[in-house]
């Protein structure tokens, strides 16, 4: 541990200081905060952490590990921002506050390995082999049963809660070429931002996204030089690595002339659309060379009619599907109606809303490790609202939510599948093609 006498907090001074001082302490953030809902402590809600930020700024408190942990007690779900009468974005202040803390205290070694080695280094693919092998050998579950978590830290225990599918030993980007041509003359060229989770764990999502875009007639480019989006580093307060990631992805995507950049990861999408502009003070056109779309946003807004024509005709019975709004898709990107539009055109499914579909699932990156109990409780609430719909499938657009929710469903022995909306869409198109 290193301590600093330097009281300055450059990352939260200036712009964020204005956010902090504008908080009128009305407490409305308590009404939507999923963390506050669980333990009713002021450390959970945004008002408390803003008060803490101000106390640090004014030197009423000195930074310490306890305070670092309070700033970590946030899912970055942005629900407080929606409830805030003054229109503040407290989650952004907390990310900056985490960055201030990281400058003072080194990351724990396990976090450092994950963020700086595995996600931080250029190549996404290095992750895949190791996770694939560990998952196939049931190492995460084994580790849990042997109580290794207590020895190794909570990260491994965390991995044994989430439910991961069988993972191919090669990554998506290793398996697919950089440029994919559609059958006919291309109607346009789009870039596909893969993201770590889709590149290694949830490769079905990347495959489905690319295939749907190809079926619509797009040339799809998967720039080889791309890396992690940097959102995990943003959430962990590792702004240095985040800036490297922005530079890396900027140069990878700007190499190509693209009509749009498509991403099928909610968190990555909000990284590109929300965090990059916050960091660079430039829009996505300038930073990445094209406008960024979530895959469901792009498909529903531009191709709903085309997709309708590609749907299978004679479907026997409809399977009930419900939809979970990922915070990073719904609140940070404003994408909510589009995935529902897509679900509603799929003849094999009957779409039913769940109660509180926009409530966070409790994932939130490092939060799940630091505040495992709260994270699990939040997930279990989500599970109950899913169960109440009677749906057989939960559609969603976020790998974090998918791992978390499928984990919660599995813990309860429920046979409910979690699928990315675009995977369901691709299944439908395949049915038509198969006929």
């Amino acid at each position: 541990m290193t301590t600093s006498n330097d009281k300055a907090l450059p990352l939260i001074e200036g712009y964020y200081e204005e956010q902090i001082i504008q908080c009128m302490k009305c407490g409305m953030c308590q009404s939507t905060c999923p963390v506050y809902y669980e333990d009713s402590l002021e450390t959970g809600c945004a008002r408390g952490k803003l008060a803490l930020s101000e106390a640090l700024l004014h030197g009423r408190l000195e930074p310490n590990h306890k305070i670092e942990m309070i700033f970590n007690k946030c899912l970055l779900c942005h629900a407080c921002a929606q409830a805030c009468p003054v229109g503040l974005s407290p989650d952004k202040v907390f990310a900056a506050a985490r960055a201030e803390m990281i400058k003072r205290y080194d990351m724990p070694w396990i976090k450092s390995v994950i963020y700086r080695k595995l996600l931080g280094q250029g190549k996404l693919s290095s992750l895949t082999g190791a996770i694939s092998l560990a998952n196939r050998l049931k190492l995460f579950a084994l580790a849990r049963s042997l109580s290794i978590p207590r020895m190794l830290g909570k990260s491994v225990e965390r991995l044994s809660f989430v439910d991961l599918p069988d993972i191919p030993s090669r990554s998506f980007m290793d398996r697919f070429p950089e440029i994919l041509e559609p059958k006919g003359k291309p109607i346009g060229t789009v870039g596909y931002f893969v993201g770590c989770a889709q590149n290694s764990v949830f490769q079905d999502v990347a495959e489905a996204s690319v295939n749907v875009l190809l079926s619509l007639g797009y040339r799809v480019i998967i720039p080889k030089g791309q890396g992690c989006c940097g959102f995990p580093h943003y959430g962990a307060g590792d702004f240095e690595t985040l800036k490297q990631k922005i530079a890396q992805n900027s140069s990878a995507f700007k190499k190509h002339k693209l009509d749009a950049i498509i991403i099928s990861c909610a968190t990555g999408g909000s990284g590109l659309k929300d965090v990059y502009p916050e960091m660079t003070k430039q829009d996505d056109m300038t930073t990445l060379g094209a406008k960024v779309y979530d895959v469901s946003e792009f498909l529903a807004q531009k191709h709903l009619k085309d997709l309708k024509k590609m749907m299978p005709k004679n479907t026997k019975e409809k399977i009930k599907v419900t939809y979970h709004d990922a915070c990073h898709l719904n609140r940070l990107q404003g994408v909510a109606s589009q995935p529902r539009d897509l679900l509603n055109i799929m003849p094999s499914y009957e779409f039913v809303e769940m109660e509180n579909s926009t409530k966070c699932c409790g994932e939130g990156g490092g939060f799940t490790v630091y505040y495992q109990e709260i994270s699990t409780n939040v997930a279990n609430r989500k599970r109950e609202t899913i169960k109440d719909t009677g749906a057989k499938i939960v559609a969603l657009g976020c790998p974090g939510c998918r791992a978390q929710i499928s984990g919660a469903l599995k813990q309860d022995g429920l046979n409910i599948d979690t699928r990315h909306t675009v995977c369901l869409l691709w299944d439908e198109i395949k049915k038509t093609n198969g006929k």
Binding site: M28, Q30, A55, P85
Partner: protein, 467 residues
């Protein structure tokens, strides 16, 4: 610093994890929505009335101040540990114990969020009307203690009109039951209402019985523009003279209207001086008849225009102007100070004129909106609390507002309570005799002045800084 023995004894009562002593934790229980603060010495999180009683006895034994707290959303400084000591966090007492449909009564614990009560009773076809602005987060215990109001008060009354019985832990640790589940009664002093609005100075409320009503079957919403505050005031008076009691009768002044237009762009004319948002409810036929009379009266008085909501979507559009009043004002400056001076209904135009004068005199930005139907205004002062000079002017402006409000036959607070911020003005409203009775009552129940000390009756003036 707090005695080590107290910490140990508290831990024995509530468990180690429910006793907070870390400076960062304590900082988070130092403030409320007034934005004043004072860091407590300790925070204890309680779960039932038994724990409350034990802790009250313990703090008495050690002669330590004790401050009950719910969600900390009050606007009077009522839950700030202004003179140091222990904050007792009550929001874990959050069970709805009973909803009695037959007798139309609900029994709840104080930590239940107020909005939850209405949401739960409405599932059984019942209605809990009080709806303070902070209803989504404020606890019912806090609403009872502060005498919280809301938009529906003109027709339905405020929190105090719905409380029929309480369980209270007294400053000596005794657990008292007041009132009954019978819907009428006259046994001696009304002890229930001694504690309603007592702001945690006389006892700690641990159980609350509220009466419920049936919701109205139909409603109609109007937005009415006026070219002068006086005309709007006349309209308010005439509507009631014509025997129409709207469920909601809200007012916005020009500064507020323009702030709404700046941020929301809902098409309000920027040159109007006053805007009324009125809602009437009841049986469908009655609502139609009243609507006709209301429109006639408003036009006769000289309304520039009237918008009527045709459906629920339009209703929400009209409500938006009033709902966004505070949020948009709050965006104009870093610091928002919300007052709630209340005058007799007929004196509203005079009060507004005075606020306008005060604004000019001190060169402050003050937007006013509020519950015109019952004279409860919310002059909202917009400043930067880092500017010490400006804050001095705020203090003087507030004092003038209160003075004038009392002169008009009004009261210091319509729904926020007295707490610490208005305690110095109590004598102005109640004179020496009144204040001395207040103090005698406080002394009778809390002779050592340890329970939420110096609030309401202001035994000692306490200076607080903005956080």
């Amino acid at each position: 610093m707090i005695d080590k023995n107290i910490i140990t004894e508290l831990e024995n009562i509530v468990g180690k994890s429910n006793v907070l002593t870390d400076p960062s934790d304590l900082m988070l229980y130092s403030y409320d929505a007034t934005q004043f603060y004072r860091v407590p010495d300790l925070v204890v999180v309680v779960h039932n009335s038994n724990e409350v009683s034990k802790i009250v006895k313990l703090t008495r034994k050690y002669n330590v101040n004790l401050y009950p707290r719910g969600s900390g959303t009050n606007l009077s400084g009522g839950s700030i540990p202004a003179d140091g000591g222990i904050v007792m966090e009550l929001n874990r007492l959050n069970k709805i114990l009973d909803i009695d449909v037959q007798n139309r009564i609900a029994v709840v614990e104080p930590g239940v969020v107020a909005a939850t009560i209405d949401a739960e009773v409405s599932k059984k076809g019942l209605f809990y009307p009080p709806d303070p602005g902070s209803i989504a987060v404020a606890t019912i215990g806090g609403c009872v203690a502060e005498g919280a109001g809301g938009l529906r008060a003109l027709k339905y009354g405020t929190t105090k009109d719905y409380i029929i019985g309480l369980e209270v832990v007294l400053p000596n640790g005794d657990i008292l039951q007041t009132g009954s589940l019978a819907l009428r009664g006259s046994p001696g002093f009304d002890l229930t209402h001694l504690f309603v609005g007592s702001e945690g100075t006389l006892g700690i409320i641990t159980k609350i019985a509220v009466k419920l009503i049936y919701p109205a079957k139909a409603r109609k919403t109007f937005l009415i523009m006026y070219d002068s505050v006086g005309l709007a005031g006349t309209a308010v008076a005439k509507i009631i003279e014509n025997k129409i009691i709207p469920s909601t009768m809200e007012f916005l002044d020009k500064i507020t209207i323009n702030a709404v237009e700046d941020f929301k762009k809902i098409g309000l004319p920027r040159d109007i001086e006053a805007l009324l948002l009125i809602e009437i409810d009841g049986e469908a036929e009655d609502v139609e008849v009243s609507a006709k009379i209301l429109e006639d009266v408003c036009m006769k008085v000289g309304a520039r225009s009237i918008s009527v909501a045709k459906d629920d979507a339009q209703r929400l559009d009209l409500m938006e102007a009033r709902r966004s009043a505070l949020p948009v004002l709050a965006r104009l400056k870093p610091t928002t100070i919300l007052e709630d001076a209340t005058v007799p209904r007929s004196r509203v135009p005079e009060m507004l004129e005075k606020i306008h004068d005060i604004q000019g005199k001190y060169d402050l930005m003050i937007g006013s909106f509020g519950h015109a139907g019952d004279g409860n205004l919310h002059p909202t002062i917009l400043v930067d609390r880092r500017n010490k000079e400006e804050m001095k002017k705020v203090d003087m402006a507030i004092k003038e507002i209160f003075d004038y409000c009392i002169d008009l036959g009004g009261t210091l607070t319509g729904e926020h309570g007295i707490g610490i911020v208005k305690a110095p003005f109590m004598e102005k409203e109640f004179k020496k005799e009144g204040l001395s009775l207040f103090r005698d009552i406080k002394k009778a129940l809390d002779p050592d002045n340890k329970l939420n000390p110096n609030k309401v009756v202001g035994a000692k003036e306490v200076h607080l800084d903005y956080i």
